[in-house]
C-alpha cells in the first residue's frame, strides 16, 4: 500500500506503545483540538523522590499521526525527570518517528502538549507552580508557536503568518496574514481560539484576516 506515513509511523500506529489509563495517576491531562477534532489523554506516575516519570500511558481519539506521536512520546518520556520531559519538543517526537507530513503537525503536536499538561497538572497538585502571570504579547506569541501552519508544518509565528498581536483590557486581537477565503483560514482560526481562550485573564480573542 501507498501511505503518506513512513514505516516507523505506521508501526507505532499499528502497535501503539503504552496505551491505556493509569489508575490514580499522579498527573493527567486531556488535550483536544476542535479544529482537527483529535483528542489525546496522557497519564503519568511520578517517583516523588527523584521527580522522574516512572510510568506514562496515553489514549487517543485521533488520526494516525496523533496515535503514533502519542506512542513515541510515552517512550521518550518514560524514565526522564519532569524537567527533562517538559522540554521534549514536537520536533524531537517527529524526528524519533522519522518525520511526519507537515499538514499533520497540528494533530500530532497534541500529544506533546498532553505530556506537558500532565506534568503541569502534577506540579499544580504538588504546589510546584509559580504565580499566575498576566497575559502579554510574548505569552500569546509563545502559545501561537503551537498553532501549526498546515502548509509548512511550522508554528504560525515562524511561518510569518502573524502580522500583529494586541493585548488590551482582557482582549487579544490577532491579525493573520491570510485572506478569509484561504483553504485553511477557518481551521487556523479555530486552533488559535483553542490555544488562547483558556488564558486565565482573557475575556475575548479576535482573529482578523488581511482582507
Amino acid at each position: 500500500m501507498r501511505s503518506p506515513y513512513n514505516e516507523t509511523v505506521m508501526e507505532h500506529f499499528r502497535h501503539p506503545r503504552n496505551v491505556g489509563k493509569i489508575d490514580n495517576p499522579d498527573g493527567k491531562s486531556t488535550e483536544g483540538s476542535p479544529a482537527c477534532g483529535d483528542m489525546v489523554s496522557v497519564y503519568i506516575s511520578v517517583d516523588e523522590a527523584t521527580k522522574t516519570i516512572s510510568d506514562v500511558k496515553f489514549e487517543s481519539y485521533g488520526c494516525a499521526s496523533n496515535i503514533a506521536t502519542g506512542s513515541i512520546i510515552t517512550e521518550l518520556a518514560k524514565g526522564k525527570t519532569l524537567d527533562e520531559a517538559k522540554k521534549i519538543t514536537w520536533k524531537q517526537a517527529s524526528d524519533a518517528l522519522g518525520g511526519l507530513p507537515p499538514i499533520k503537525a497540528h494533530c500530532s503536536v497534541l500529544a506533546v502538549e498532553g505530556l506537558r499538561s500532565a506534568i503541569q497538572n502534577y506540579e499544580e497538585k504538588h504546589g510546584l507552580v509559580k504565580e499566575k502571570k498576566p497575559t502579554t504579547v510574548e505569552i500569546v506569541q509563545q502559545r501561537l508557536r503551537k498553532v501549526m501552519d498546515p502548509l509548512t508544518g511550522l508554528g504560525l509565528v515562524r511561518a510569518k503568518l502573524v502580522q500583529d498581536i494586541k493585548v488590551k483590557d482582557g482582549v487579544v486581537r490577532i491579525k493573520v496574514d491570510l485572506p478569509s477565503g484561504h483553504q485553511f483560514a477557518s481551521a487556523i482560526k479555530q486552533e488559535i481560539h483553542e490555544k488562547l481562550d483558556t488564558l486565565w485573564d482573557i475575556k475575548e480573542v479576535v482573529v482578523d484576516y488581511v482582507e
Binding site: 500500500m1 500506529f13 477534532g37 489514549e59 487517543s60 481519539y61 488520526c63 481551521a187
Partner: protein, 390 residues
C-alpha cells in the same frame, strides 16, 4: 495484504468499463478529426455524427432533446457554467440573489461564494437532520431578487435524495431558474426533465464507469444563460473548445450499459452494509435518510473513533472508503454535509462513506463490515471516549 482491492469509493471515481474503452478507441485512432459541419471532409463529418449520436443518447436518458444537452469537462464545469452563466444573464436584469442548499457539493457552493464576492447575495438553505430540503422553506427564502435556486438531486456524501419535483414546482411558481446537480443520480435514480420542472441539470461520466473529464449540462429551452467559456462556436455557441469526442462516445456507452437490475443489486448490497454495521457495531449512526437515499450509498458514523485511522486500517486490508473527518480533508475541516445536517465535529470525525459500483459484490459488503467491526473495536480500546467508567 488482500488479493484485490475492495473499492468502495465509487462516488469519487469509478473503474472504467472495458466496453466503454472499446467504444472510445476508434475515436482516438481512426476517427480522430475535429467535428466539422456537414460541409466538411468525411472524417470530420463522421466525428460530428458520433458526437450527435452520443448527445442523443445522453439527452434521451434525461427526457430532453439533443439541443438541450451541452458537453463539458465534467460535473465541476457543468455546475460552474450553470450558476455563473445564469448569474451573468440575470444579475443586472433581474436581481442578485441566489439560493443553494447548505449541503451542495463544492462546485455549487464555491461558485455561489465566488459570485458573493462580485456583489451577489447567497442564501445557504438549511436542510433537515436527514438532509432534506423543505420546499416550503425554499418558498419562504425566495425574494423578488432571487434569480437561481440550486438544490442537488442526491447528496454526494450522505446519499439523501431530494424531492426534486416539489422543489422544481416552487421554483416554477416563483419564476426562478432551477439547477440540480445530478452527478450521483444520473441513470441510477430517474430524473425526467420532460416531467420535472427543472432548468439545468449537471451530469458526468466518472460516477458511472465512464471516462474522467467528460460531463454535460442539460439546459432547458429558453433558460437564460450567458456563455462563459469563450472561443469557437461549439456546443450551440454555449461552450467553446474542441469537442472531446472519445469522451462523449464513452459517456454515452457508459449510460447505455447501466441497467435497472444492476442498480437494484447495488441497493441490496447497500442494505446489507447498513443493516449489518448498525446491528453488529455498537454506537454507530446512519447519516442521511434511511430510505430516500442513493441506491449505491451508505454513510455511517462510528462514534469515539477517528475516520482517517479507520480508512488507514482498512487500506492495510485492501479496502478503500472515504471519511468526512477533518484529518482526511484538504482544508482540514470536517464534512460540511455532516455539519449541515446538524452533526458536530464528533459526528463528522468518525463518519465513513461507502459508495458502491458495478464491480462490488455481497462478499465485499461482508468483508468490509467484518473488517470494520475489528478495527473500530481496536481503535475504541485506545480512545479516551466512550468508556463505561467515564
Amino acid at each position: 495484504m488482500a488479493d484485490r482491492t475492495i473499492y468502495l469509493d465509487n462516488a469519487a471515481a469509478t473503474r472504467m468499463d472495458e466496453r466503454v474503452l472499446e467504444a472510445m478507441q476508434p475515436y482516438f485512432f481512426d476517427t480522430y478529426a475535429v467535428a466539422t459541419s456537414e460541409f466538411g471532409y468525411s472524417l470530420g463529418i463522421e466525428a460530428r455524427d458520433a458526437l450527435d449520436e452520443a448527445r442523443a443518447t445522453l439527452s434521451k436518458a434525461l427526457g430532453a432533446s439533443p439541443e438541450e444537452f451541452v458537453f463539458t469537462s465534467g460535473s465541476t464545469e457543468s455546475s460552474n457554467m450553470a450558476i455563473k452563466g445564469v448569474a451573468l444573464a440575470l444579475g443586472e436584469k433581474k436581481g442578485k440573489h441566489i439560493i443553494v442548499s447548505r449541503i451542495e457539493d463544492f462546485p455549487v457552493i464555491h461558485s455561489a461564494q465566488a459570485l458573493e464576492k462580485q456583489g451577489f447575495r447567497v442564501t445557504l438553505l438549511e436542510v433537515g437532520g436527514d438532509g432534506l430540503v423543505s420546499p416550503d422553506k425554499l418558498r419562504e427564502a425566495i425574494t423578488d431578487e432571487t434569480i437561481l435556486v440550486s438544490v442537488q438531486h442526491a447528496n454526494q456524501e450522505i446519499g439523501t435524495i431530494q424531492d426534486i419535483e416539489g422543489i422544481g414546482k416552487v421554483c416554477r411558481e416563483k419564476g426562478v431558474v432551477f439547477h440540480t446537480d445530478a452527478t450521483h443520480t444520473y441513470t441510477r435514480v430517474p430524473l425526467d426533465a420532460s416531467k420535472v420542472p427543472v432548468n439545468l441539470v449537471t451530469v458526468a461520466a466518472h460516477t458511472i464507469h465512464g471516462p474522467k473529464g467528460i460531463g454535460g449540462l442539460y439546459i432547458r429551452k429558453g433558460t437564460p444563460i450567458t456563455k462563459w467559456m469563450d472561443g469557437g462556436f461549439q456546443e450551440f455557441n454555449l461552450r467553446a473548445g474542441l469537442e472531446n469526442i472519445p469522451g462523449a462516445v464513452g459517456f454515452a456507452r457508459a449510460v447505455e450499459i447501466v441497467a435497472p437490475e444492476e442498480t437494484d443489486k447495488l441497493q441490496e448490497i447497500r442494505e446489507h452494509i447498513i443493516e449489518r454495521a448498525l446491528a453488529e457495531i455498537p454506537n454507530s449512526t446512519l447519516n442521511g435518510h434511511r430510505t430516500q437515499r442513493l441506491p449505491q450509498n451508505a454513510n455511517i458514523t462510528f462514534h469515539f473513533v477517528e475516520g482517517e485511522s479507520i480508512t488507514l486500517h482498512l487500506d492495510m486490508r485492501g479496502i478503500a472508503v472515504s471519511t468526512g473527518s477533518a484529518c482526511f480533508s484538504r482544508s482540514l475541516e470536517g464534512s460540511h454535509v455532516i455539519y449541515g445536517i446538524g452533526g458536530d465535529h464528533e459526528r463528522a470525525h468518525g463518519s465513513i462513506r461507502f459508495s458502491l459500483g458495478r464491480y462490488n459484490t455481497m462478499e465485499d459488503a461482508d468483508a468490509v463490515v467484518d473488517a470494520l467491526a475489528e478495527i473500530v473495536s481496536e481503535l475504541r480500546s485506545i480512545s479516551p471516549l466512550g468508556k463505561e467508567n467515564d
